[in-house]
Subunit: 327 residues, 2 copies
Amino acid sequence: MKIYNIGIIGCGGIACKMAATLGGMKGVKRYAVASRTLEKAQAFADKWEFAKAYGSYEELASDPEVDLIYIATPHAMHYDNARMCIEKGKPVLCEKAFTANARQAAELLKLAEEKKVFLTEAIWTRYMPLSLKIRELLEEGVIGTPYMLSANLGYVIDRKERILRPELAGGALLDLGVYLLNFAAMYFGKEIASVHSVCQKTDTGVDAQENITLLFQDGKMAALQASIHAVTDRMGVISGDKGHLIVENINNPQSVRILDANYQTVAVYEAPQQITGYEYQVYASLEAIEKGWLESPYMPHAETLRLMQQMDALRKEWGVVYPCDKE
Amino acid sequence: MKIYNIGIIGCGGIACKMAATLGGMKGVKRYAVASRTLEKAQAFADKWEFAKAYGSYEELASDPEVDLIYIATPHAMHYDNARMCIEKGKPVLCEKAFTANARQAAELLKLAEEKKVFLTEAIWTRYMPLSLKIRELLEEGVIGTPYMLSANLGYVIDRKERILRPELAGGALLDLGVYLLNFAAMYFGKEIASVHSVCQKTDTGVDAQENITLLFQDGKMAALQASIHAVTDRMGVISGDKGHLIVENINNPQSVRILDANYQTVAVYEAPQQITGYEYQVYASLEAIEKGWLESPYMPHAETLRLMQQMDALRKEWGVVYPCDKE
């Protein structure tokens, strides 16, 4: 069995989480890490037992031993980072939000197709077994015909630079809302008739809180709330004419509870034991690489692009403009 | 101790619920019931042990022994029913939605003030001890500063005439949405900066599903969803920077759970044992009558009117028009 050498670009919180994840996985090696300074990369490599540390992202991407690069930088940097990796022919698992805007996403996806390089978005909830189980349950009709979906995600992150600053592609939408839109997309699909939204902005001009309504062509409605000010319950609820289904923590689904029309719990599905939940997106990437696919069926390119376009449209409505939008 | 003779106008489901409630209360007598036919009233009176049965609402309102009239007819009839009672000088506890539109509400409130008759809206959640406890908890800062409120209410009532027909003041808003708006009003107040909403309509022209956003002047946001197609989880969640508070069933609050910023439950408050929950609005009405008040502090006239105006504005935006709106 081939052992895949994983490289990580960026040394922040999610890079640590991925390093911890890789340590518990099979078939992967914590091979290389890159930061903008060698000291930082070396400290990370020492702590997490990576074989190599690089003081530039390019050096890591140039290492012929690297099999897959996980991009763990803030999302304003994803475009540059991913482009560089793809140009060097390296398969890429790129953190969400995939890019700062849809133009950047389209360019990256086009480049990856041209270069025949695997590229996928690290929107981890898309790859999780429980996420797929929910879709199965809905198809089995456990709640009858679904009509309404509501989901929320909120954390107190209103002091973070990367959230507050437009030049870092800040705001609730790209950090939190992306999970809500993906949740709605996974279960209510992409046949959207119209999108309506309301947002409250920060003094710095990014979105702080929002309520987004998606109306689907078949009459379904999704209501999505995000907040950078409050710790919300992170629940996702899908309601049908025979009952409803509650997903505990849409950001890392722990359980799915199904209630009948009398509010009695009729079934509970727990997430299988996981390392962190990050492992699924890595395994999916390796499967794709092994099979020579250029995208993952869990998160197809078209879906990544559609979600970025959805977020662009929302930001346009709200007047949340990033410097890169003007390029 | 005076025993109050209660009269009920209407013999439907909520009249039964009130009859059952009165049976468990102190200081009240199941005195009289009226329907549009004597047979129906008599059957109800026999079943629920009411002393008198009347074949017209006027007869009941004319009975000098009646101390308080509970109006349990469909909401399209509230205006006519309540006006008649007030003109006869009878104190009124009128089911929600208070009237079909704000014009009717304003007229009723004016008439009650002129005639110096007690009148209040039977929006039962306003009178419940747990509702008041939630406000106290928020004021104590159990979840820090509140920023986001979300609540939903959905039942499969999309085959009911009274819901589907505009002439019966149908739609999700007046039947379900009214609880959502009251929930938001109780905890986030009335200093609303703007209201935004999206609705899906039935073929009959009433609102079937909606997502309503209230933006408050102090930066808070409330996101409210109603549905006549789906059994939703009926939860109300208020989120702050130190945690959140979950109200189980905003339509008849059973418990309030407080979670800290780490999603750990730190306290649970259960509703005190209740008959049905209807008793609180009756006791509040009797207290007001005893004290000579013309309105109840639990649901002041101004608040009833404000909520009706809010619903009028929403319907106007959606193009949900009742015949009585044109009068």
